[in-house]
């Protein structure tokens, strides 16, 4: 189809050299097209026979009709009197039909079609419209690109920031956590203060059941180091008692610690033993299997040999030929 248009356009041009060449090419293509039956080359406009939705009687009649149509078409094809429409003719008809349709739609379609096909830019009108179109296209693309870029650029920036300031962010986070915790402690203290005011016993602060809040209350700050050994010991004993009372396990007792270390050692030993055993058994099994296999193979070979010998002997056991070859 496109080639037809091309040909039409080019015939109007004044280039003499191209013409016969193009003409030859066009003829070649036409001949090719003629070879193809119209049924396959051109789009089928007729409805395909639809047999499924019909009843039995309707289906039968439709099939009958289609068979008759086929017969008729065949007869017409081979009839020299009737004029046959070659594929080419049908193609031309189709093109003309389409052209008329396109003309009715308007100029735009024509203009769209032409720049794609023709290498040659025609008159000024065409080029202006073409450039206009190009410009509008460019502007549209830029618009879309602009709207697309806003979120993606942010993501890119975020990723960069993360990569660069990873460590810095961690530090900042820790700091912020600390600040939050302080704030929480302050708020709790404030609550306590408020309760104090309400309660008449201002001197004695009330202590309540262990309440789960956000932060860990068991942080202890023991920074000062006492000088005397006894004070240290006393402090340690009080600290461990407080921790134990609060539910924290204090591993104080050297005896028990020794015991647990020994337990761990023994467990480790046992595991090692088990592993050794396992390795040994695996080796044994493997060796056994391999031995068995080799035995079986040797056996087979032996059997084969025996068979051969037996065969040979059998041959020599013919009546009248007993005895060995060499013996007289």
């Amino acid at each position: 189809m496109g080639k037809k248009k091309d040909k039409a356009l080019n015939e109007s041009e004044s280039t003499i050299d191209m013409k016969p060449m193009i003409h030859e090419n066009a003829q070649f293509f036409d001949k090719l097209v003629e070879l193809i039956p119209a049924r396959f080359y051109l789009p089928d406009e007729k409805d395909k026979p639809w047999f499924q939705g019909l009843s039995k009687a309707e289906k039968a009649s439709a099939k009958k009709q289609s068979r008759e149509n086929i017969k008729k078409a065949r007869r017409d094809r081979l009839d020299p009197e009737k004029s046959t429409k070659t594929t080419l003719d049908l193609l031309k008809e189709n093109l003309e039909k389409e052209k008329s349709n396109m003309d009715s739609d308007g100029e735009e379609k024509e203009i769209e079609v032409r720049p794609i096909m023709s290498d040659l830019d025609g008159g000024e009108e065409r080029s202006v419209t073409y450039e206009e179109l190009r410009g509008s296209l460019r502007s549209k693309i830029e618009e879309l690109r602009g709207s697309r870029n806003i979120p993606s650029s942010d993501k890119g920036k975020k990723r960069k920031n993360e990569r660069n300031d990873k460590k810095g962010n961690l530090q900042k986070k820790q700091k912020s956590d600390g600040v939050v915790e302080e704030k929480k402690i302050d708020s709790i203290n404030d609550e306590h203060n408020v309760e104090k005011d309400i309660v008449e016993e201002a001197a004695n602060k009330l202590i309540f059941s262990r309440v789960k809040l956000g932060d860990n209350e068991d942080k202890r700050e023991d920074s000062k180091k006492e000088s005397t050994k006894s004070e240290l010991l006393a402090k340690h004993s009080w600290k461990s008692a407080m921790d134990r009372a609060a539910g924290i396990k204090v591993h104080d007792n050297p005896k028990l610690l020794k015991q647990s270390i020994q337990k761990e050692k023994k467990r480790h030993q046992k595991n090692a033993e088990k592993w050794h055993e396992r390795v040994e058994t695996m080796k044994k099994l493997k060796a056994e299997k391999q031995q068995k296999r080799s035995e079986n193979i040797a056996d087979k070979i032996h059997q084969k040999k025996m068979l051969r010998i037996a065969k040979r002997e059998k041959k020599l056991l013919r009546p009248g030929f007993e005895g060995r070859k060499g013996s007289t």
Binding site: K205, L206, I207, F208, R210, V211, A234, S240, D252, K255
Partner: protein, 351 residues
Amino acid sequence: MARFRNRKNKVFVKPIVKKNQQQQPNVDHITGNKIPKSFVFSRGKLPGPIRQLQMDLRKLMLPYTALNLKEKKRNNLKDFLNVAGPMGVTHFLILSKTETSPVLRVAKTPQGPTLTFKIQEYSLAVDIAQSQLRPRCPQDLFKNPPLIVLSGFAAGDEHLKLTTTVFKNIFPDIDINTVKLSSCQRIVCLNYNKDTKFIDFRHYSIRLQPVGVSRRIRKFVQNHQVPDLRNLQDVSDFVTKAGYGSESEADEEAATVTLTSDLSRVNRASTKSAVKLQEIGPRMTLQLTKIEGGLCSGEVMFSEYGNGGNKKKPDSEEDGDNDDEMKDSDEDNEGEDSEEDIGESEEDEED
């Protein structure tokens, strides 16, 4: 065509598993910490009232305690320790008797500190109930653990701090975000008197009453009993008559709270309710006499009477190992002869 049996009509019956034994959770699924469980038992033969006191203490520690714990005479502390491990028991409350007074020891298993209290005075729960006009014991009073309030302990020494820690951890944690108001029904109050150094131990039940409603209407709504309208001309008289308020209604301002959720039909959310405490359970006056580093053994870290050396007790086989990791440096009384305090001699008889 073969007819297939319609399998879709089969009803799937879920097998019903009856949970006869309810196992108590070991870890509180709300706070994530271990739930403290306790054993309350006695050492040595005790007279009747003290056995009652032991029962009262057991009820107090419900639900996370062994209510029907049976101990034999030949059971040692070691036996209890061995059983406590697998069962997840964290505290022991041991009652015993000396010549002067009964003694209560609060200890944390397995190696924790032991606080020894001398019970100066005590009242049983039965006595308290008899003394009240309307004793109150709703059905599920002991289904939830009690709250605890300690007062007067704050500005104290190490031993007081340790006492607060131990008592705070005897009862499970409370998560203020997820706790249900209906589950806080009991409260244990401990008050420390600086002058006498006595600790008052009280146990109350919490009751919420709506405030701002006239007495008649409140009673009517709570009891569902038809009121006596004989003397009234009109129902409006019943509703609007200004009845006299009871004594306790006067001091409501201090004890009112605004509920965050509906507690019952009467106590609605965001209305004021008065918190009323009614005493149940034993009442004790305790005096902290000794703090030991181990479980009824170990180094004596605090002693009321000044001498706290490691004394050889006559029946020391019944107790756990005597872990003498640290020698006493401050108190160097090792012989029994040197002490003259009456209090010390009683402490020797403890098991």
